[in-house]
């Protein structure tokens, strides 16, 4: 049985803020900061948007592209995020209701820093492969938090993508997936705390780079493949710099990662990061294209995927929902005051 992606959909809120505007507030060379991180701007949610609405829009875009799929045939909905609107009360059940997949299904919210979305894809693959469900939905979406003034504030953004995993009319077959996980506390947010903390430079070598390269190398070995076998590669993109460097370390060329590298224009969408990067690739992909994907979640782990685009993508109704290029067109730029309002950083009266 070929298990893979039957459909996908992406959504990014229309608002943006530039690093120089953030730097202006904190007395920092924001422009230089953005340059170093390779982030020109980041997305910001609307005042009435959160992970539920972002995940729903992505999932509805996904469903619009497969008019033949009955949402009642969806047996699982998983939403990966580190900014679920409720600490207790699932995002997934709201999204499932909004795409009319309820009630004969399972749903759960996932959290593994930035890789909960890809973990959901793996979970759905398992259920589909085992014949337990006909379709599973895996969504990675975030309205990420960065403490005011912290380096993360220049990157933490909002967006998400949704994947319909199944074994019928698969537009991109997932040939193989594997993960690499250790207990590495490079980034965390304690229960009840509004902002995450991180280990600074510790988030690099022993965390991001070690886990991505380990998972990627193991997958290449297991698949008997080399980087040049792939048309596209997508790596977790907390900024533009890390994925560019890790691609080089693994032997991928800049043109392989270019299509799926969205961070420069939208920032780090956390759980949405790799799912959105892959969506950007699928927007362009042709039959036979092979895609290499490795996510990263602090804490820490990486999920790697070896994907091949199938002929089914030719009859796939991609045009029924906007491509990322269209989603990202015509942004509205915010100053820091409006940004603070959008992010709920202003203390209001009772």
């Amino acid at each position: 049985m070929d298990v893979g992606i039957v459909s996908y959909g992406a959504y990014v809120p229309r608002f943006r803020i530039r690093p120089e505007e953030i730097g202006r507030i904190w007395g920092v060379d924001g422009k230089g900061m953005g340059k170093g991180l390779m982030i020109n701007q980041k997305s910001v949610p609307g005042c009435d948007e959160d992970v539920v609405t972002i995940a729903t829009e992505a999932a509805r875009n996904m469903m619009a592209r497969v008019p033949g799929v009955d949402p009642k045939d969806i047996g699982a909905v998983y939403v990966g995020s580190e900014s679920h609107p409720y600490a207790v009360k699932p995002t997934a059940s709201i999204v499932a209701e909004a795409i009319e997949a309820t009630p004969d299904m399972t749903a759960v919210d996932m959290e593994f820093a930035c890789k909960a979305g890809t973990a959901g894809i793996q979970a759905c693959m398992g259920l589909v492969g085992a014949g337990m469900v006909r379709y599973g939905v895996a969504i990675g979406a975030d309205t990420s938090q960065g403490a005011p003034g912290d380096a993360l504030e220049y990157s933490a953004s909002a967006g998400g993508a949704s994947y319909l995993i199944g074994s019928e009319n698969v537009i991109a077959k997932i040939n193989r997936t594997l993960s690499f996980t250790t207990d590495t506390p490079d980034f965390w947010r304690r229960e009840g705390q509004p902002y995450p903390l991180h280990g600074g430079r510790f988030t690099g070598e022993p965390a991001y780079f070690k886990h991505i390269t380990s998972a990627a190398k193991k997958l290449l070995a297991a698949a008997g493949a080399v980087p040049s076998d792939y048309k596209y590669a997508v790596f977790h993109q907390p900024n533009g710099k890390f994925p560019t460097r890790v691609a080089g370390m693994l032997g991928f060329l800049p043109e392989q990662i270019e299509t799926g590298l969205l961070t420069p224009s939208i920032g780090n969408t956390y759980s949405g990061s790799v799912p959105l990067g892959l969506a950007a690739v699928l927007d362009k992909a042709q039959p036979g294209d092979r895609i290499f994907v490795t996510s990263y979640g602090s804490g820490a782990g990486s999920d790697a995927f070896d994907i091949t685009v199938t002929d089914a993508i030719k009859s796939y109704k991609r045009e029924n929902a906007p491509t990322l290029e269209k989603v990202l067109a015509n942004p509205v730029y915010l100053d820091y005051g409006l940004y603070a309002k959008h992010k709920g950083k202003i203390i209001m009266s009772e």
Binding site: R14, G46, C47, D48, D50, A98
Partner: protein, 134 residues
């Protein structure tokens, strides 16, 4: 805190524009009705669930400057009457639109957004709002 149940029971309409259709005369209603005002008693038991088309055109609009407290963060914001593709008129907010470019006849589609919440600890109410359909 407002009633959780009161909002919960409206979810089909709020999320997915579920209204009603009279099987006697074929008229479509939103929000749902258990009874067709046109066919009256004849329609009893013959009114079925019917989803309203998510797309339509602006029939009329206003920009709200004096907003209810729950929308303090959004003001000024647009509200619209939308004539959907199935010829039903619905009221809602129009978001993600340039306020000075809104016009009668402009195509829009319904998306899911936060409508309100019962304070910082209470339940969040989600429902449809419209965005420009470009």
């Amino acid at each position: 805190m407002s009633s959780v149940a009161r909002e919960w029971r409206e979810i089909p309409g709020r999320y997915n524009l579920e209204g009603s259709k009279c099987e006697c005369c074929g008229k479509v209603y939103f929000p749902k009705r258990d009874f067709c005002p046109k066919c009256r008693r004849e329609s009893l038991g013959k009114v079925s669930k019917h989803k309203i088309d998510r797309k339509g055109d602006i029939f009329s609009f206003s920009i709200i400057h004096e907003a209810p407290e729950c929308n303090d963060f959004l003001k000024p914001y647009a509200v619209v009457f939308v004539k959907t593709k199935d010829d039903v008129l619905i009221a809602g907010q129009l978001v993600d639109a340039d306020l000075d470019k809104i016009q009668i006849g402009m195509p829009v589609r319904a998306v899911l957004r936060k409508l309100d919440s019962d304070g910082a600890s209470g339940v969040i109410h989600y429902g449809f709002k419209f965005v420009p359909d470009v």
